[in-house]
Each structure stands twice: as structure tokens, then as C-alpha cells.
């Protein structure tokens, strides 16, 4: 009985509180967590590409992703320490991580040109998704000025990466 109640509570939290949190304006600790998670996912994807791809263009692009997102995430870490904010996990971060796990498993099964195409196409789609989240939700809701400014730099960077990924994809065809 007790476990049933717990399950019910968990289901209620997941089913109601989850979307409620996502629909509500995210707080700064949640925004910081989402932005950091988004960067980390792309760093991991870049490392996977560096481990698997032999294409010069793909490897150069992957190195750029690892380098640029590491730079932003290091700034983000320094900022949350300075502001004494603890990034807070949330349904959006969890959803991003879950989707990234699925894509990672898909990429793990591919090789050669098939891997390169899937990696770069996913990079385009992923950057579009994060750009949209930054524009519509994360930047408008960020309260702290320094966090907002870092997110704006993040948006400019993600847009550049999306354009670059589109160029690389075009050249692969």
C-alpha cells in the first residue's frame, strides 16, 4: 500500500509537476543547469565523433564543438561559483540527456560515411533545438544579468555552429 502511494506520488510528480515546471518560467539555477547540460551533450557528441570518424571535415568540426562548448561551460561554472548558485536538475535537462543517450546509441551502431552523415545532421537539428530554447525560454527568463549575457553569447555561438554544421553537411553530399 505504502509503495503504491509512493508510486502514485512519483507518477503525479512526473505527470503533473514535470510539465508544470516546464511550463512555468524556469529559475536561474534551472536555466544554468539546462545550459550546462546542453553544452556537455555536444561535447560528448564531439568526443564520440573524434573517436569514430575519419573525415577531416567532421573531425575538425567535432574539435571545434568540444573546444567552444568547453570554453562556455568553464565560464558558466565560474559564474555559478561566483554567484553562489547551485545548478538545479529539472525535467528539461533530463529530457535533453535522455534524447542525447538515444542518439548516442544510434551513432554507436554506425560507421564511416553513415556515421558522418548522422552526426552532422543531428548537430544541425540539435543546435536548432537549443537555439530555440535559448531564444524563447532561457534568455527571456534569466534574472541575473551576467547569466543572461553568457546565455546570449551561447546563442550567438550555437547559431554559428548551426551554420557551420550546415556547411559541413552540404560539403559531405
Amino acid at each position: 500500500m505504502k509503495s503504491q502511494v509512493s508510486l502514485f506520488c512519483a507518477a503525479t510528480l512526473l505527470g503533473l509537476a514535470g510539465p508544470a515546471v516546464a511550463a512555468d518560467a524556469p529559475t536561474d539555477p534551472q536555466i544554468a543547469h539546462i545550459a550546462y547540460t546542453a553544452g556537455n551533450i555536444d561535447i560528448a557528441a564531439g568526443k564520440q565523433a573524434l573517436a569514430k570518424s575519419h573525415s577531416k571535415a567532421i573531425r575538425s568540426f567535432a574539435q571545434e564543438m568540444v573546444r567552444d562548448h568547453t570554453a562556455v561551460n568553464n565560464k558558466a561554472l565560474a559564474l555559478v561559483r561566483k554567484l553562489q548558485v547551485t545548478p538545479e536538475d529539472n525535467p528539461t535537462s533530463q529530457s535533453l540527456t535522455k534524447d542525447a543517450g538515444t542518439e548516442r546509441a544510434k551513432l554507436a551502431k554506425l560507421r564511416g560515411a553513415a556515421f558522418d552523415r548522422e552526426y552532422i545532421n543531428n548537430e544541425i537539428a540539435y543546435h536548432k533545438t537549443v537555439n530555440s530554447a535559448l531564444e524563447s525560454t532561457l534568455i527571456p527568463n534569466a534574472k541575473n544579468g551576467e547569466l543572461k549575457s553568457l546565455l546570449q553569447t551561447g546563442l550567438t555561438l550555437f547559431r554559428e555552429h548551426q551554420t557551420h554544421a550546415e556547411q559541413v553537411a552540404k560539403a559531405l553530399k
Binding site: R67, D68, T153, T156, L157, E160
Partner: protein, 112 residues
């Protein structure tokens, strides 16, 4: 002592002579070094009056690695965060340049 001052006059005549005689002043103006700052994924303001022989000092103040790469291959400066590098403008004409990593970062240098 007298010999030395005479030598100095000869040297001055040789160096100064052409400046005030045959060669137009604009052609002998000393080359300038102009600074272009890179920050927040943008190239800063570009110098307006560039001449052949001038130098651009590219200063990367951003947290990202950038390049200043001429499309005509006349220069390719690759800069880690905090680094700076020089490119001498060897010829006249418009020189289009980009950052190889961030495709929207671009500009045109007008060299006379």
C-alpha cells in the same frame, strides 16, 4: 670630427633627398599598424584608410579560438583566446576575410 659631420650631411642628403624631390609623399608614408579586436564572436571596427604595406594586428579577446583568414589566401591568422597575430597587407584591393570556425564572422579590408 669634421669628416664625421660631412658624412652625416651626405647621409642626410641621400635619405632626405628623394623624400623632397621625385617621389610622391603618399607612396613613401611609413606603413601603419592597425589593431582589429575580436570579441563576442565578432570582428571589431575595421580601419578605413588602409594602404599596401600596412599591418593588421588581430587581437583575440574572446573566450573562443578564432581565425582571420583571407579568401585570397594572402593571410591566415589562427588565434587561441588571448593571442594576437600580425598580417601584412601585401597588395591593394578589397580583401574578404572570415573566421574558419564561425562562418558569420566576416569582413572586407579595403587596401589602396
Amino acid at each position: 670630427m669634421i669628416g664625421r659631420s660631412r658624412l652625416a650631411r651626405i647621409v642626410a642628403a641621400c635619405v632626405g633627398g628623394p623624400l623632397f624631390c621625385a617621389v610622391p609623399i603618399s607612396a613613401t608614408a611609413a606603413p601603419h599598424v592597425y589593431t582589429v579586436v575580436i570579441d563576442k564572436l565578432r570582428f571589431g571596427p575595421l580601419p578605413a584608410k588602409l594602404h599596401q604595406g600596412d599591418t593588421i594586428l588581430w587581437v583575440n579577446k574572446d573566450m573562443f579560438r578564432h581565425t582571420a583568414t583571407a579568401l585570397d589566401h594572402s593571410f591566415d591568422i589562427d588565434l587561441m583566446p588571448g593571442q594576437s597575430g600580425k598580417a601584412v597587407l601585401a597588395k591593394t584591393g578589397p580583401i574578404s576575410f572570415v573566421c574558419r570556425y564561425h562562418p558569420s564572422m566576416k569582413g572586407v579590408l579595403q587596401v589602396k
